[in-house]
Assembly symmetry: C2
């Protein structure tokens, strides 16, 4: 284990990008549905709609909305832009649930099994509980508990979410570590007193789209993947 | 499978009494702490304080309160009645977490593993998320998702809790089955449109205290234990 850290009791994981590869999963499904669609651009556009949609909720313009429903709002705006405006309702509903069917990165299952031996593992995702449960069941993700924006009725990076994890487990924030591939998420958690672990995931936006994965000094740990994180936390 | 039922997609489990044996666990811990205390009476009294404490919350007399904190309120009232009023704070805190350390009935682990092959398994307990997570991790309970009164901010038998499970998974209530050893819980779920399975647990209140486990015609299924439930649902 890294010598200077106090081992966290709970590891809380960001999910989209950190645990599962949303870009490949979405690109592949949309290309399989309609030959000729630019799957890379479609995946990036769908994901890019996510932050503005959450802001509409947090500003009060929309009432509290599950991510499944935000994904659908974005999808309905997106389809005509990709020449898919004629897609039928049943197909839209099926495609919208692609977020439940995303595959984990190759290191995830083995890494989580090692981390689970010494830590309580939970999600902390803006994804809704049903989505995260379906994803975990399909992909064999061994969460001890699924926590979500849905439980706290606020999206990350609202402090209510990070502090909520500590509250659920009756711990100090410093006994919880957020694990994420996104520096903004980690910075918000750090500001609440959580420990943080950055995971690189250089292909998050596709192999042709660059992602800066350089270390940030504020994070407690920086790991290439979940196996490297398990090494750093002393989990065999 | 029983020929006349539509298989539920989600099985939602009551926990205290249905999954874990609270009576034996509490009686054993309190007797180990102080020789001569009547563990049977202590366990029954602690559990009996639970419904009145929840009513104080639901009536508005108390604000929203986690079960860990209700258990502690009841414990502090109980200790002097059993000659244990001198118990120190650290010991009270440890004893209060006995609810996190309860053992499952002998059929539970194998039964849940079989049921998990064809159904999504979640808890639906008035216990808080941290309690249920700690219990599951210690006892190896393979929940797909932990749901609790804490998520819905209402205790069973409030309809919000039963309907909340269906809403989380975007299902009709009839696609969810509540599994419980308590007829009042099942009747409330049935009134919300859920399917119901009664589990007998004749020793719930201790071997010396009778429990009526006779079948009730309103339930979808009646099973001796989780292995029998797996048989009835066709889960090998």
């Amino acid at each position: 284990m890294s010598p200077h850290i106090t081992p966290p009791q709970v590891l809380a994981f960001d999910v989209f990008g950190t645990v599962v590869d949303w870009h490949s999963g979405i690109a592949a499904e949309v290309q399989a549905l309609r030959a000729g669609v630019d799957g890379d651009a479609f995946a990036l556009a769908w994901r890019a709609g996510y932050q503005p949609a959450m802001r509409r909720v947090m500003s009060g313009e929309l009432g509290w909305t599950l991510i499944d429903d935000l994904h659908r709002l974005i999808l309905d705006e997106l389809l005509p832009r990709f020449g898919l405006g004629d897609m039928a309702e049943a197909e839209r509903r099926h495609l919208n649930r692609v977020w439940h069917r995303l595959d984990p990165w190759p290191d995830v299952a083995a890494g989580l099994q090692r981390l689970k031996t010494r830590h309580t593992l939970c999600t902390l995702s803006n994804g809704n509980l049903g989505l995260l449960t379906n994803m975990a069941k399909r992909a064999g993700l061994p969460w001890d508990c699924i926590l979500s924006a849905e439980v706290f009725r606020a999206y990350k990076p609202d402090p209510v979410t990070y502090l909520g994890v500590a509250r659920v487990f009756d711990l100090n924030p410093s006994q919880v570590m957020l694990v994420a591939a996104h520096q903004d998420d980690l910075a918000a958690a750090c500001a609440c007193g959580l420990q943080t672990a950055y995971i690189e995931r250089p292909a998050e936006f596709g192999l042709n789209n660059h992602k800066d994965v350089s270390p940030h000094p504020a994070n407690t740990l920086h790991a290439r993947d979940f196996l490297a994180l398990a090494d750093q936390l002393g989990c065999r």
